[in-house]
């Protein structure tokens, strides 16, 4: 079980952070462009889901799955978007995204006055903590052993 990569967007669509762990195929464009493409798609999916849903959507868009990977999306009420790609067997990913938000993002970015809002995250501390967290996350445990 694998986490491939992680994107964090703010409410204006700025790519705040990109982290990569097991990605064998690159998109062949710059990170910036890739971020824009990703955000554009999320935006479209979100409005698609909101419009097409036959019932009142409670959580909105949560994830999609292809034959090879699953994309998970967590959007906070403040408009932050956490996007994580994993393989199709991964479980409790929502829990993981929530933890990345509440235990890593809030703790090492929002509480760090040197991390300006709306700008890409440069904090080494955040990067290290995130890497460590992803490595010990329960869904990658099987791979490590």
């Amino acid at each position: 079980m694998t986490i491939h990569n992680l994107y964090i967007f703010d409410r204006y669509g700025t790519l705040l952070y990109y982290g990569e762990w097991n990605r064998t195929k690159q998109s062949g464009m710059s990170r910036e462009e890739e971020g824009k493409l990703m955000y554009g798609m999320l935006y479209s999916i979100k409005s698609f889901v909101a419009k097409i849903s036959p019932l009142d959507p409670k959580d909105g868009f949560l994830n999609y799955k292809t034959s090879k990977y699953t994309l998970h999306c967590l959007e906070t009420p403040s408009g932050l978007k956490f996007i994580m790609n994993t393989d199709n067997q991964a479980q409790n990913t929502r829990e993981i995204l929530r933890k990345i938000y509440s235990e890593l993002y809030v703790k090492y970015v929002m509480r760090n006055p040197l991390c300006a809002a709306g700008e890409p995250i440069n904090s080494e501390l955040f990067k290290t903590k995130l890497d460590a967290f992803i490595k010990q996350a329960p869904l990658t445990a099987a791979r490590a052993s």
């Binding site: 204006y12 669509g13 009420p77 403040s78 938000y101 809002a117």
Partner: protein
């Protein structure tokens, strides 16, 4: 800032520490600025910048969802007061349209041991700023001001919150 080893649970500090630090901030600002009006504005701005960050902490702690109604928002603000200042203001004086309400409290840890010179200073101007900043991050544009202030001799402190509009989601650049 020290790196605390404790998990996300609230790191409790003595409220007197906050009270005195805030008092030192305000008195320093009064020394730096001739005009109390400027101090009010700056306190509001500091509050706004705090609110913008504080909201993330609040959302992460409480796991709140987006509010569909102002009444829900009022509840959440009340909860935030309890969480961050350990006080429980009451929500009252709803306008007929339900877009305006008051938060009323008798005791606030920020304004303990304070005697005010009569010069137009709004001692707690940080609070309305924080509320405005925090709500802006969840797409709510509000106005926030003091109607009554204990420090000015009123029986209670009353903070009015008025809903102005809902801010819309940003469209990705270059999509039009």
């Amino acid at each position: 800032m020290s790196r605390q080893t404790s998990r996300l649970d609230a790191k409790k500090v003595n409220s007197e520490l906050l009270t005195l630090t805030y008092g030192a901030l305000v008195s320093q600002m009064l020394k730096d600025n001739e005009n109390p009006e400027d101090v009010n504005k700056q306190l509001e701005r500091i509050g706004y910048n705090m609110g913008v960050r504080l909201i993330e902490d609040f959302l992460a702690r409480t796991g709140s969802n987006r509010c569909l109604e102002m009444r829900e928002t009022a509840d959440k603000i009340q909860q935030a007061f309890r969480l961050y200042l350990n006080m429980q203001p009451s929500v009252s004086n709803w306008s007929n349209a339900g877009d305006e309400f008051s938060l009323v409290w008798e005791q606030c840890s920020l304004s303990e041991w304070v005697e005010m010179p009569n010069n137009g200073l709004k001692y707690c101007a940080l609070i309305p700023g924080a509320i405005r900043g925090a709500l802006q991050m969840v797409q709510l544009d509000v106005q926030c001001w003091f109607v009554q202030d204990q420090l000015k001799g009123d029986p209670v402190t009353e903070l009015r919150v008025k809903y102005i509009k809902r801010l819309e989601d940003a469209v990705p650049a270059g999509e039009d």
